[in-house]
C-alpha cells in the first residue's frame, strides 16, 4: 500500500470521516511505519480533545438539579446573578428611554450651569470650525451612541393651519424618536412609533390644541440606527405655537 493511500485515509481521519474498515486499514499502514504511526497519533490526540470538549458541553446541558439548587454556593451565585441582572436591566432601560426626568430641585441650578456651558462650547465649536457638526458615518455606532446631533428644524413655528413639524434628515439615521416636552422637561406628547422613519410629524387638531395651552415647549428628537437604537439626541429645541 502506498503513501498516497495512507495520506488519503489520514485526511479522512483528520475530519473524522473514516468508516470502521478504513480505520482498520489506516491502523495497519501506521503500524508498518513509525513516522506514519506518529502522524496518526497526532490526529487521534486532536479528536480526543474534541471529544472531551463535547463531553464537557454535554455535561453542562441538563437542567439544574435539586441538589445543586440546595447548595449554599449555588444560592449565592443566583443572588449575585440577580443583582447583576438588575444592573443589566437598568442599563438597557437607561440606554433607550428618552431623558424625561427633570433634575432634582436642589441640583437644577447645577444642571442649568452645565447646560449653559455646553451651549457655549457648541457655539464656539460651530463658529471656530465653520461647519455644522454631523454624525460621522465612519465612526462606529456604539461610539456615537448618546452623542449630540445638530438638528435643523424646518418649521419651528406651528399654527392651527400648519401643524406639521419638519426637520432635515440626519446622516446615518434610519429613523427618529420624537417627543414634545414642557418647560420642566416632562414629555407631554410623543410621536407614534409607526411613523418612526418620517422626518415630519403632523399634529392632529386635538394635539395642537392641547399643546397650545402650554407656556413653553421644546422638541426633542433622537436619531435611531437600523436596529432602532439611539445614536444621538438633538437636545431640546424651542417650539412655538401660534
Amino acid at each position: 500500500m502506498s503513501d498516497v493511500t495512507f495520506l488519503r485515509l489520514l485526511q479522512a481521519r483528520a475530519i473524522d470521516e473514516l468508516t470502521p474498515g478504513e480505520r482498520e486499514q489506516l491502523d495497519l499502514l501506521a503500524a508498518a511505519d513509525p513516522r506514519r504511526g506518529a502522524a496518526l497519533a497526532e490526529w487521534d490526540v486532536v479528536h480526543e480533545v474534541l471529544a472531551d470538549e463535547r463531553a464537557l458541553r454535554q455535561s453542562l446541558q441538563p437542567p439544574v438539579e435539586p441538589i445543586e439548587e440546595a447548595a449554599q454556593g449555588f444560592v449565592r451565585l443566583q443572588a449575585a446573578a440577580a443583582r447583576a441582572g438588575e444592573r443589566l436591566r437598568s442599563q438597557m432601560v437607561a440606554a433607550t428611554l428618552p431623558r424625561v426626568v427633570a433634575a432634582a430641585p436642589a441640583r437644577r441650578s447645577w444642571w442649568l450651569a452645565a447646560a449653559a456651558l455646553l451651549v457655549a462650547l457648541s457655539c464656539w465649536w460651530l463658529v471656530g470650525r465653520g461647519a455644522a457638526p454631523a454624525l460621522d458615518p465612519n465612526v462606529p455606532q456604539d461610539r456615537r451612541a448618546g452623542g449630540n446631533l445638530q438638528l435643523v428644524l424646518l418649521e419651528p413655528v406651528l399654527t392651527a393651519s400648519a401643524r406639521t413639524i419638519r426637520w432635515a434628515p440626519v446622516a446615518g439615521a434610519h429613523g427618529y424618536g420624537v417627543v414634545v416636552v414642557d418647560a420642566d422637561g416632562n414629555v407631554v406628547l410623543s410621536r407614534d412609533v409607526t411613523l418612526q422613519k418620517s422626518t415630519a410629524w403632523e399634529l392632529t387638531p386635538e394635539q395642537f390644541a392641547s399643546l397650545r395651552a402650554q407656556v413653553r415647549l421644546a422638541l426633542r428628537v433622537s436619531a435611531l440606527d437600523g436596529a432602532g437604537i439611539a445614536i444621538g439626541s438633538s437636545g431640546d429645541l424651542a417650539l412655538s405655537l401660534r
Binding site: 479528536h47 480533545v49 454535554q58 439544574v64 449555588f74
Partner: protein, 205 residues
C-alpha cells in the same frame, strides 16, 4: 441539531438575535425574557468550576458571574445570531472563569481536595493529575479555537463540537459540503500543529 448548550426554551440564533435587538430597543417583555435566558450563566459557571476542577471559592464564582454580566452589556450589540444565545454566553463564562482563576493564581495548582470530596464534585472521579492534564488540553483547544478565522472556527464548532452533518452545515450557509470539509481540515490542522507545539515546547501562542 440544536446546540448542546441550549435548553428547551432557547430559540435559534436568528430568533435570539431578534430577542436581543428588541431588548436593546427597550421592549420590556423582550428584556425580561433575555434576563431569564441569561440565568444559564449561574449553571455554566457553577458546573464549569466543578467539571474542570478549578476549585474557585464561592466569592470567586460570584465575581465571575458579575464579570460575565458586565462583559455582556457592551457586547450585546455585537451578538450576530450565528449561535444560540446560550452558546454565545458560554464563551463569556469560560473566559471570565479562566481569567478569575488566573487572577487568583490557582490555575497552576494541582487539585488537592480529598478523593471523597472530588468524587462528590465530579461524579466520575478522575485522578487529580488526569483532571489537570485534561483541563490544560481543553484550555489549549479553546485558546486555539479563538485564534482561528471565524468561518473555520464556526465549521469546527458546528461539526466537531455540536455534531451537525457537513451537508446540513453547508446547506444552511449556501455552500458546498466540500467547502465546509476544507474549512474543518484547515482549522484542525492548525489546531493539531499548535497542540503538538505546546506539548513539545510549552509554547503559549
Amino acid at each position: 441539531m440544536p446546540s448542546v448548550l441550549t435548553h428547551d426554551s432557547a430559540g435559534s440564533g436568528p430568533a435570539d438575535l431578534l430577542l436581543v435587538q428588541a431588548a436593546l430597543r427597550g421592549d420590556v417583555a423582550a428584556g425580561a425574557t433575555l434576563l431569564d435566558r441569561l440565568g444559564c450563566i449561574v449553571k455554566f459557571v457553577w458546573r464549569l468550576n466543578q467539571r474542570l476542577g478549578y476549585q474557585l471559592p464561592a466569592e470567586g464564582q460570584e465575581d465571575v458571574v458579575q464579570a460575565v454580566y458586565a462583559a455582556l452589556w457592551p457586547r450585546l450589540r455585537d451578538f450576530t445570531g450565528h449561535n444560540a444565545l446560550e452558546t454565545w454566553v458560554f464563551g463569556f463564562c469560560r473566559n471570565c472563569l479562566r481569567s478569575e482563576v488566573r487572577r487568583r493564581s490557582l490555575h497552576a495548582r494541582t487539585p488537592s481536595l480529598p478523593a471523597d470530596q472530588l468524587d462528590q464534585l465530579h461524579p466520575e472521579f478522575e485522578p487529580p493529575e488526569d483532571l489537570l492534564a485534561r483541563r490544560e488540553r481543553l484550555e489549549a483547544l479553546q485558546h486555539e479555537l479563538e485564534q482561528l478565522p471565524a468561518e473555520e472556527a464556526e465549521a469546527v464548532r458546528l461539526r466537531h463540537l455540536e455534531g451537525q452533518a457537513f451537508e446540513d452545515i453547508a446547506r444552511a450557509r449556501g455552500v458546498a459540503a466540500s467547502t465546509i470539509k476544507d474549512r474543518c481540515y484547515r482549522a484542525l490542522t492548525r489546531i493539531k500543529d499548535r497542540l503538538c507545539r505546546r506539548h513539545v515546547g510549552g509554547e503559549e501562542s
